[in-house]
């Protein structure tokens, strides 16, 4: 049955984040702003973050895209809030490894983002899942320059 395959992709956690995204909005006095899009499909994200003393104090996003990209953005902001820049970057790296089917450090607490692992089986959708993480990576790198 095809919908069983679909269930691997659209886990209830993902649909929950899609339906009721966390941290949707814009931080007015943000220290970092990133606009990123996926030119092959038109997904866009506007990410604002408050980074102080090497820690992500706050993160909010706005954007338009499919369930995977928007759920991933919601999870990303939820996960990185309060984390050090270093930890946030290592999470992004883990996500990237999960998507590519590479080995990854399983000692890291993944929480909701574990649900994104099903995306790896849908190669055409990997870019949807990684968009928000790439935006975050670019943002914190820009901030630390």
């Amino acid at each position: 049955m095809s919908t069983r395959n679909l269930d691997q992709l659209y886990r209830s956690v993902i649909m929950d984040h899609y339906k009721t995204p966390r941290n949707k909005g814009v931080i007015e006095e943000s220290s970092v702003t990133v606009d990123m899009n996926n030119p092959t499909c038109g997904d866009v994200i506007h990410l604002t973050m408050q980074v102080e003393d090497g820690t992500v104090q706050n993160a909010k996003f706005e954007g338009e895209g499919c369930s995977i990209s928007m759920a991933s953005a919601s999870m990303m902001t939820q996960m990185i809030k309060g984390k050090s820049v270093e930890d946030a970057l290592s999470l992004a790296n883990t996500i990237s490894n999960i998507m590519l089917g590479n080995e990854y450090d399983d000692s890291i607490e993944l929480g909701d983002i574990e649900a994104l692992s099903g995306v790896a089986k849908f190669p055409a959708r990997i870019k949807c899942a990684t968009l928000a993480w790439k935006a975050m990576e670019q943002g914190v790198r820009k901030d630390s320059e």
């Binding site: 095809s2 919908t3 395959n5 659209y10 038109g42 866009v44 949807c128």
Partner: protein
């Protein structure tokens, strides 16, 4: 409707995708290839392969005949006056870029105007943006009507005596609109401008007669008309092509080469620098043979019928929005749409899990997406091998997607 046996000519359609028989509804992106085109290409490599225009040996001759024979087929296919007017390129994009870089650079100056529309594909926008920036020219857009059509009144408002180039797609790859190219060409000519036509979505589906249209350039691709990728055509009026400089220099396109100066071959070869896409041209020739055996009239009739059938069936699905003209006689056989609460990428994944291939995204038309006020859409596009059953499968798939997303929501 065409005979159902047409499907059997396309070996790729016989497979299952994700446990379901394949329903291929992405022919506007690229069409599938019939066995006789695949055979023509392998046959060329098995029996005739050699470089063209230089071999004294027999194979060199056979390859040249195959390549130049394909040019004659293209000439006949679009009813060009002479074979010198048919230039082989890599595809529609390259064809339009040749016009922009050669004719455009020589004839467009500061303050001159280039006119396109809001519905153009990126390949008919960016070459003109670049030319306008380089020359200080003005890029102007013809506005669309609410149903995604162009009126001649609007064309007359935008095209002026300062307009040097008008470049418009024959058929929209998103809206399906068939544009009145002959009439727009007249308006361009009245104002002293040349007319360039992006025919990528027209040549595969309808009889194109460049002399009747009277356009100055006509660009199209082989891979959307059952031919191979990597081969396309630029048709140009001989008197214009003769005055134009080549854009690629090197082997194949030269006449005499000195240390500091060289001269070019005559048309069409002066625009075909380097060893050409010989097998691609042979494949395109075979594609034209195939389409002409079926008859372009029959292709058109079949697609008209499918478009109308699909329009009716898809409209039954609750929450669907269909873009472009709603009257089937005003449009080509592709339907771009959105389904309430299901993002097009999610929809395309659900359909793919049921063996149905559709396109999702901006279809290389970001300005048009802005005009439609959407970030992405889904598109089902039909060709000779599609059937009513394919449309039925699509409609079932849409219902499944809706239910699935309503449930998980």
């Amino acid at each position: 409707m065409l005979n159902i046996d047409i499907r059997k000519h396309f070996p790729i359609l016989e497979q299952e995708i994700n446990g379901h028989p394949l329903v291929y509804l992405d022919s506007a992106a690229t069409s599938q290839k019939p066995q006789q085109v695949i055979d023509a290409i392998s046959n060329y490599y098995e029996k005739d392969n050699s470089n063209v225009h230089r071999g004294v040996h027999t194979l060199g001759n056979q390859a040249t005949e195959a390549y130049e024979g394909a040019r004659d087929k293209v000439r006949d296919f679009i009813n060009a006056k002479s074979r010198e007017e048919i230039i082989f390129t890599r595809g529609t994009t390259t064809s339009i870029n040749i016009v922009a870089q050669s004719y455009g650079r020589a004839n467009v100056g500061e303050g001159d105007e280039i006119v396109i529309t809001h519905m153009e594909h990126h390949s008919n926008i960016i070459p003109w943006q670049q030319l306008a920036r380089e020359k200080g020219a003005v890029l102007k857009f013809i506005d669309l009507e609410a149903d995604g059509t162009i009126t001649l009144e609007k064309v007359r408002e935008v095209v002026t005596e300062r307009t040097k180039i008008v470049s418009i797609m024959h058929v929209s790859n998103v809206l399906g609109t068939v544009n009145p190219i002959k009439e727009i060409t007249e308006i361009a000519h009245e104002n002293g401008a040349i007319m360039v036509v992006d025919g990528a979505q027209a040549a595969p589906h309808m009889k194109v007669d460049v002399q009747h249209l009277d356009c100055d350039f006509y660009a199209f691709s082989g891979h959307k008309m059952v031919g191979p990728t990597g081969i396309g055509v630029l048709y140009g009026k001989k008197e214009l092509l003769n005055k134009m400089e080549p854009v690629e220099f090197g082997g194949e396109m030269i006449d005499f080469v000195g240390l500091y100066e060289s001269t070019w071959k005559e048309l069409p070869w002066k625009f075909e620098g380097g060893t050409p896409i010989i097998a691609g041209a042979v494949g395109l020739g075979a594609a034209i043979d195939y389409l002409e055996e079926i008859g372009l009239d029959n292709v058109e009739k079949h697609e008209q019928h499918l478009a109308e059938y699909a329009m009716n069936r898809m409209s039954e699905v609750e929450g669907i929005t269909i873009y472009g003209p709603l009257e089937p006689e005003k449009r080509a056989s592709l339907i771009t749409f959105n389904l309430n609460d299901v993002h097009p990428h999610d929809l395309a994944t659900v359909l793919d899990m049921h063996g149905i291939a559709v396109r999702a995204g901006h279809h290389c038309c970001q300005p048009l997406m802005k005009w439609l006020d959407v970030s992405a859409t889904a598109r089902a596009s039909f060709y000779i091998y599609n059937t009513e059953e394919d449309v039925d499968r699509l409609v079932d798939g849409l219902r499944i997607a809706k239910e699935y997303f309503n449930d998980v929501n």
